[in-house]
Symmetry: C2
Subunit: 186 residues, 2 copies
């Protein structure tokens, strides 16, 4: 029997997006967001309230990066989601994160997190809090790439956020082949 | 050392969204989409090209549902992503999926998939292929709920799509507590 859970923003799995930006002084900041996803061939959308320092930074600089939260840095990824740079200006230092400037956009890349999207701001709608960016490059540490130069999930070890239970889960083992396993039903 | 992978729509993890709709005759259809995510407090956005029968259906009916792809129905979820209802009108039957009409919106709920978002169409932008819906209800089979009535990922067993390697992975074990594990860094 099905139960109705109400109008909730639930998708499984949801990513753990660590959004990094520069403020007006060039100080890097980062926050943790689970409300987001691909919305076009090289586009990503996220729901980000305008009170976030990250939103002010992105509107001023026109750019940001998004790193994937991973098991190795789970506590740091959680930390940047529970503390605001409005209150703790050196939150990235406290998280143990170091940054270098992206070679593609005016935004910092977090060195410790092995995969990042480098994005230009396309639009921000205050009414809906929807921010859309164009992904101009994806960079990844070679330690998370396989012999074909593709990202290997068993090396990246990304985490996913379960909002109902306030939990993080790891992405697990491979269970199927896309565009193949369904062909048997043709 | 970091490598540049180019402008690619990569987020880890990405969901496996099974979007169900009625056509003009009331025949249910479904497709598989990985490009999507939460974009507001009760909103979801997806990139869906207008050639999809699903898009025609949603624009005509103003509604759709999104079920989470799961391990148990992996082949059927893959199948609805590789065959178009433009070519195979009875694709849902072939997938082994049965539907009942949502009690909230004019769209079918796939009975076999244990969790679904019931959505009203908010907007569709042809230029960007971005479709936005409002989630008016989430329904879930009680077999995937824990004793608190919350979705239990070990029962739902959702899958995630790895676009670089054309693979599906299961969501794995819990590895942390959100809003807690980062507090140690305060």
């Amino acid at each position: 029997m099905r139960k109705n859970l109400g109008a909730k923003p639930l998708v499984y799995p949801q990513p753990v997006l660590i959004i990094a930006s520069y403020d007006e002084n060039g100080t890097p900041d980062a926050m943790n967001a689970a409300w987001g996803g691909i919305c076009g061939p090289a586009h990503i959308s996220m729901a980000l309230g305008e009170r976030h320092k990250t939103v002010k930074n992105i509107l001023a600089r026109g750019a940001f990066t998004i790193s994937m939260g991973d098991v190795e840095h789970l506590a740091a990824c959680d930390y940047v989601g529970i503390v605001s740079a409005n209150d703790v200006p050196d939150k990235l230092d406290r998280a143990g994160f170091h940054t270098t400037k992206s070679g593609f956009v005016d935004a910092p890349v977090i060195e410790e997190l092995p995969m990042a999207l480098e994005c230009k701001l396309i639009s921000y709608d205050e009414a809906s809090s929807c921010l859309v960016g164009e992904i101009v490059n994806v960079c990844a540490d070679e330690k998370v790439l396989n012999s074909e130069g593709k990202i290997d999930l068993s090396r990246l070890r990304p985490i996913t956020f379960d909002p109902m239970n306030a939990a993080y889960h790891i992405v697990g083992e491979k269970v199927g082949n896309a565009f193949q396993d369904g062909a048997a039903l043709k």
